[in-house]
């Protein structure tokens, strides 16, 4: 072939040279290698676990609060058993007549004994010479919230028929517990934010070092007429691939941990925890974590590379 023939070969792409935006496969993808995918995997796993914990805690608080909000407990604190029984019955009748009360239950003696057993032993009030007097307990469900005003009303209604009655909101008992859970929830949120920042920092360093080791390639592509966007895209994609791979591994790890922990809690059969299980919205949120990580990695890589390129001619 004469050199002229060689050069006269029409190259469709070259004809577009002036407007071309470039083939995405400018420079082949780098393989999954180096610490980057693993760093991302660990970050994603920790983020997902922290987020899952936060969501489970929130669900616990919400479902428990819904049940407890309208709940009141009336105790008849009276040492003499006959008197206690009389006042309990009177209180029940009076409560029944109140319009705000939608549910009413006198907790049976056996149930009370059972509740107290772990603290005071099993033979309370039966065989013991000096039985510890146990107050009678009435569970009251109000139609609305059991706020101070409602409690006052109930107290006023009971004072005449059952002077030994003590009225408390059920949520009040558990308030410190919920406060603690709420702060745990904030802790989980703070952890998620910190992990996201650490992830961004890790990606930033990875992008910088990739930029350093590939400076030659970048300069060459630059001098061949590659645009900043084309060059950034090469990096963005290869870091995106790393991040996606790491994200999948990390999510799988987190999934195993969550399911195992969930099982253990379910095994406890404790009321608090099984109300805190994760719904499908929660799972969707968790699944967004690896996606968000890959996105964050790509954006960080792009910004880093574009910034470095702007310093070149």
């Amino acid at each position: 072939m004469s050199p002229k023939e060689l050069l006269e070969t029409r190259i469709t792409g070259a004809m577009r040279a002036v407007t071309g935006t470039g083939d995405p496969e400018l420079v082949p993808q780098s393989r999954l290698s180096g610490p980057m995918p693993w760093v991302i995997a660990i970050m994603v796993a920790m983020t997902v676990i922290a987020l899952a914990a936060g969501l489970a805690l929130r669900n616990t608080v919400i479902s428990a609060q819904a049940g407890l909000e309208g709940g009141l407990t009336v105790q008849i604190v009276e040492a003499r058993a006959p008197e206690r029984r009389a006042q309990s019955e009177a209180a029940m009748q009076r409560l029944e007549s109140l319009p705000a009360v939608v549910g009413l239950r006198l907790v049976p003696k056996e149930e009370l004994d059972h509740l107290i057993e772990p603290w005071l032993g099993s033979d309370q009030g039966t065989t013991s010479a000096m039985p510890v007097p146990i107050p009678a307990l009435i569970d009251v469900q109000l139609s609305g919230r059991a706020d101070e005003k409602q409690i006052e009303k109930v107290r006023a209604a009971l004072v005449a028929v059952a002077p030994a009655a003590r009225v408390d909101a059920q949520s009040g008992w558990l308030e410190p517990v919920y406060d603690a859970i709420a702060s745990l929830q904030w802790l989980a949120i703070a952890l998620v934010v910190l992990l996201a920042m650490a992830l961004a920092a890790a990606v930033l360093m990875a992008a910088r070092s990739a930029l350093g080791t590939n400076r030659d390639t970048i300069e060459i592509v630059h001098l061949l007429g590659g645009t900043d966007a084309q060059i950034a895209r090469v990096f963005q994609r290869s870091i995106g691939v790393d991040a996606a791979g790491g994200g999948v591994v990390g999510f799988a790890l987190a999934l195993i941990v969550i399911l195992l922990l969930g099982r253990r809690f379910a095994g406890l059969g404790a009321g608090l925890v099984d109300q805190g299980s994760l719904g499908w919205i929660d799972w969707t949120l968790l699944a967004m974590v690896p996606l968000a990580a890959a996105l964050l990695a790509m954006i960080t890589a792009r910004v880093t590379v574009m910034h470095a390129l702007r310093k070149m001619l």
Partner: protein
């Protein structure tokens, strides 16, 4: 026919270049390159040939002076417009600058890909080009496994394949035997015959005689040898209108 002077492809006016705070390595350069001409840039090692070419292929901005390329002011041109100008320039770097993790094929295909060519469009031209420079059996080789001469041929193939408007080659035959050097020069001439302005830097005076129609720029310690040749380069032969009248194919 002589082209109107408004169509000069490169124009330098009183250009100076210094690296950092050193002395100027290029001084008072004033010259014009016309479309379709073939230039040799000669001078001793260290005279500033590579530095001048770096200005030509837009890897470097001068410290002073004015440069116009393809009708644009290259000094004030915004960064975003540089890529499109660079795609009109083919470069053979003195140190080849092949992408180390790409095969010979992918290196040659790179400028076409940058310009947006699809894989199916570039397979044949790239293969033909590599065959022509004698690397048919080395297409999948990485640069590190190629000899200096082979790398140089890949670099030349990469510079030539997009059929640039201007080809800038820095000592492009320094690592090949004389026979291959002549063959590569024929490639440059053919490109030149298709209308490309060619600038070849070399310190090999024998090469100059191989292209009879070429124009010669001599650099001496950062200055063009004929200091009065400002804007009239080359002082003697620019008077010959047939030089500029080469029909662009």
């Amino acid at each position: 026919m002589s082209k109107p002077t408004g169509e000069e492809i490169v124009q330098f006016d009183n250009v100076g270049l210094r690296y950092g705070t050193d002395r100027e390595v290029l001084r008072n350069l004033s010259f014009t390159l016309f479309p379709g001409s073939f230039y040799f840039l000669t001078g001793a090692s260290g005279a500033g040939k590579t530095s001048l070419l770096r200005l030509l292929y837009l890897a470097q901005r001068p410290s002073r002076g004015m440069i116009r390329m393809f009708g644009s002011d290259a000094i004030t041109l915004p960064r975003e417009r540089l890529p499109l100008l660079r795609r009109r320039i083919g470069v053979v770097f003195q140190d080849f600058r092949l992408v180390s993790h790409l095969s010979a094929f992918d290196n040659v295909a790179l400028p076409l890909r940058v310009a947006g060519a699809a894989d199916r469009d570039l397979r044949k031209p790239v293969t033909d080009m590599l065959e022509w420079v004698g690397l048919a059996d080395r297409m999948d080789a990485r640069p590190a496994t190629l000899s200096g001469g082979e790398q140089q041929r890949v670099a030349i193939a990469r510079a030539v394949i997009p059929r640039p408007q201007m080809l800038v080659a820095d000592e492009p035959t320094g690592n090949v035997d004389p026979e291959m050097a002549v063959k590569l020069l024929r490639l440059f001439e053919a490109l030149n015959g298709l209308g490309t302005t060619v600038v070849v830097a070399t310190h090999d005076v024998h090469l100059l005689q191989k292209v009879p129609d070429s124009l010669i720029m001599r650099l001496n310690k950062g200055q063009l040898a004929d200091p009065t040749g400002a804007l009239r380069f080359p002082p003697r032969r620019s008077a010959n209108p047939s030089r500029h009248g080469r029909p662009a194919a």
